[in-house]
C-alpha cells in the first residue's frame, strides 16, 4: 500500500505506452544528429525556443554510444548502427550542451535555442 503512489505513474505510463508508437507526433520540428564514435554531426543544433522538438539520433560509429545531456536530463544508449530519438521539452533561449558519455574525451555538442 505504501508504494501505491509512486507506482501509479508507471501504471499510467505503461497504459499510455500501448499507443505511444501510434500517436507519435508527425508535425514535430525534427533535427537529425549523427554520432560517430563520440563525434557529433552537426556539432551545433539550432532550435526555436519555447517549442518542443525531436532529435533523431543515428549511431554511425563502430561501437555503442550514449547520447546524454545533463542540462536537458536526457540519456539514450545506442548500439552500433542503431537509430532512435529523443523529444526535448520547450526550451528557454540559451545554450545547452550534450555529449557522448562513452566517449568523454570528444568535444561536447551544443543546442542553441533562440
Amino acid at each position: 500500500m505504501a508504494g501505491a503512489l509512486p507506482l501509479s505513474t508507471p501504471v499510467a505510463a505503461l497504459l499510455l505506452s500501448l499507443f505511444a508508437n501510434a500517436v507519435l507526433a508527425g508535425g514535430l520540428p525534427t533535427v537529425e544528429l549523427e554520432i560517430r564514435d563520440g563525434a557529433f554531426d552537426p556539432a551545433v543544433i539550432q532550435v526555436a525556443a519555447g517549442q518542443r522538438f525531436k532529435i533523431n539520433l543515428h549511431n554511425r560509429g563502430n561501437g555503442p554510444v550514449e547520447f546524454e545531456s545533463l542540462a536537458l536530463r536526457v540519456e539514450k544508449v545506442l548500439g552500433p548502427g542503431v537509430s532512435s530519438f529523443v523529444v526535448i521539452h520547450p526550451l528557454r533561449p540559451g545554450r545547452y550542451s550534450f555529449f557522448d558519455e562513452f566517449h568523454l574525451d570528444m568535444p561536447e555538442g551544443i543546442i542553441e535555442a533562440h
Binding site: G3, G63, P64, L70
Partner: protein, 276 residues
C-alpha cells in the same frame, strides 16, 4: 583511463550504496534472521548482473526496438518499482528502530532480492555496453585497465561502507542508513519521472501539457548547478533538480511524505505493541 574509471564508478555508485546499506542492515539483525536475508540479497545481485548483461546484449542485437519507446518505458518501470521497493524497505526498517530486540527478518526477502536486481540492472547494462565498446575500440588495454580499476574501487567502496557502518552505534546507523536509502529512492523516482516526461513529450497532447511537463518551477542553478559534473552526481543520488518541473516536484514531495508518514505509523504501532 581515468575517464573509464570515473564512468564505471559513477554508474555503479547507486547500486553499491543500495546493496551496501541493505547488507549492513542485514548484518545487524539477530543471527538467526541473517542467512535468509543475505541469501535473498546475493540472489538479487546475481539476477541483476544477469539482467544487465542480457539488456546489454539485446541493445547490441535488437538495438532499434530496445532504444525505442518500449525500451524507455521499461527503464521507467524499473526505476519506479525500485523506488517503491526502497520506500517499502525504509518503512519496514522503521519498525526495528525502537529496540534492538524487535529487529525482525525482512518481511519480504523477495523484495530485497528484487531491489538488488533492479539496482544493478538499471546502470549495469550501461557499464557492460561501455566496456564492450571500450574493449572493441583501439587503445582498449588502457580502457580495460581503467574499467577494472573502477570495479576494484567499487568493491573497496563497499568494504569501506561496511567498516564505516560498524563504527556507528545502532541509533546513528539507523538514522543515517534510513536517510541515505530514502534519498536514493527519491533519486530513482526522479529518474523515472524524467524519462516518462520525455516520453510523454513525444506524444500528441494539448499544448499546455508540454509546458506543465517541461517548465521549471524555479532555478536554483546558482546555488548548485546539476549540469556540472559534481552537481549531476549529487542529483543522481538525491533527486535534486536545479530546474524542477511540477510533476517531478509533486512526485518527490509525495514520496517523502509517504516515507515520513509510513515510518511514523510503523514506529507508533511498534511502540504500542511493546507497552501492551
Amino acid at each position: 583511463m581515468t575517464q573509464a574509471l570515473l564512468i564505471v564508478w559513477r554508474e555503479s555508485v547507486e547500486a553499491l550504496l543500495v546493496i551496501g546499506l541493505l547488507y549492513a542492515w542485514l548484518q545487524r539483525l539477530p543471527a538467526r534472521h541473517r542467512p535468509q536475508g543475505k541469501r535473498a540479497l546475493w540472489l538479487g545481485v546475481l539476477a541483476g548482473t544477469g539482467l544487465a548483461l542480457l539488456l546489454a546484449a539485446l541493445m547490441l542485437l535488437a538495438g532499434t526496438s530496445l532504444s525505442g519507446p518500449a525500451g524507455e518505458w521499461f527503464q521507467v518501470a524499473m526505476a519506479a518499482v525500485a523506488s517503491a521497493l526502497v520506500l517499502q524497505m525504509v518503512i519496514w526498517m522503521a519498525g526495528s528502530n525502537a529496540t534492538p530486540q524487535s529487529r525482525s527478518a525482512p518481511s519480504h526477502p523477495g523484495a530485497v532480492a528484487l531491489l538488488a536486481t533492479l539496482a544493478i540492472a538499471r546502470e549495469g547494462s550501461e557499464i557492460a555496453l561501455f566496456l564492450y565498446g571500450a574493449a572493441a575500440s583501439s587503445g582498449s588495454a588502457g580502457m580495460l585497465t581503467g574499467a577494472l580499476t573502477g570495479l576494484l574501487v567499487g568493491v573497496l567502496s563497499f568494504a569501506i561502507l561496511q567498516r564505516g557502518s560498524r563504527l556507528l552505534n545502532w541509533r546513528r546507523f539507523f538514522q543515517l542508513s534510513t536517510l541515505l536509502l530514502t534519498l536514493l529512492g527519491g533519486a530513482m523516482l526522479m529518474s523515472a519521472v524524467d524519462r516518462a516526461s520525455s516520453l510523454l513529450m513525444g506524444l500528441e497532447l494539448p499544448a499546455a501539457a508540454y509546458d506543465w511537463l517541461g517548465n521549471a518551477m524555479w532555478d536554483s542553478s546558482t546555488l548548485l548547478d546539476d549540469s556540472s559534473r559534481a552537481g549531476a552526481l549529487f542529483a543522481s543520488l538525491t533527486g535534486y533538480r536545479a530546474h524542477p518541473p511540477l510533476p517531478g516536484l509533486l512526485m518527490l514531495a509525495s514520496y517523502w511524505l509517504l516515507a515520513w508518514w509510513g515510518c511514523h505509523a510503523r514506529r507508533v504501532r511498534y511502540a504500542g505493541q511493546l507497552s501492551v
